[in-house]
């Protein structure tokens, strides 16, 4: 049973398109995150939700919109994709009381 699962693993799309990445965790955690990893491997937090409520919203273009239908799911929708959006996007979750982050396997987005 995968603890944090993301789909799809790979996306290849044209500039200007819209795409979504889905994330689900079966750990019972209250907090979920989206991180972006660029080509230099730097990990940058984008969003965090705690029990479906947005608690961290870093400086991210408003083309990126997270949605949390329930505390086990956090999806990421990206409008009007740009070349600079090409990256690996990681979903993660963390339990109450601040344990470690559990990561999904990542979704590699390539914008052509």
């Amino acid at each position: 049973d995968t603890a944090v699962s993301q789909t799809p693993k790979y996306l290849v799309t044209q500039m200007g398109n819209d795409k979504s990445i889905k994330c689900e965790q079966n750990l019972g955690h209250d907090t979920m995150y989206w991180y972006k990893q660029d080509s230099k491997k730097f990990l940058k937090i984008m969003f965090s939700y705690n029990n479906k409520e947005l608690i961290i919203n870093e400086t991210v273009p408003n083309r990126f919109s997270p949605k949390s239908p329930d505390k086990a799911h956090l999806n990421l929708h990206i409008n009007s994709l740009e070349l600079g959006d090409s990256a690996v996007y990681f979903c993660a979750s963390r339990g109450l009381g601040a344990g470690e982050l559990f990561f999904g396997e990542g979704s590699r987005l390539t914008v052509l």
Binding site: A98, F103, E105
Partner: protein, 113 residues
């Protein structure tokens, strides 16, 4: 605001040699500290973590790390490196509150046969 630095961008060691990866953090109180490993094309896996207590913590795959409050450091060590340890290593700090888990820039480890 908390921050994490990893001074070494890339380290190359020979198989069987010892390893130390450096991590320094900036945080107002005692943070939770973590080391993660990322193999090529994979997600991040937790190696070890420090919350409190004994400042020398043991992790998976034979890794250990030592928390030194006076130096604001949390260096990762392994006595004998295996070829399969070649990967990217990330140090991270997470406050006791749930928000805002911050990663260092990573250190890429290469292992020579």
């Amino acid at each position: 605001a908390q921050s994490v630095t990893q001074p070494d961008i890339h380290i190359t060691v020979s198989e069987g040699a010892s390893l130390e990866l450096r991590c320094n953090y900036s945080y107002g109180a005692t943070p939770y500290l973590f080391w993660y490993v990322q193999s090529p094309g994979q997600g991040l896996q937790l190696l070890l973590k420090y919350f409190s207590g004994d400042t020398l913590v043991q992790g998976i795959k034979g890794f250990e790390a030592e928390f030194k409050r006076s130096q604001s450091s949390f260096n990762l060590r392994k006595p004998s490196v295996h070829w399969s340890d070649a990967a990217e290593y990330f140090c991270a700090v997470g406050p006791r509150e749930v928000q805002n888990f911050v990663f260092g820039p990573g250190t890429r480890l290469s292992v020579l046969p």
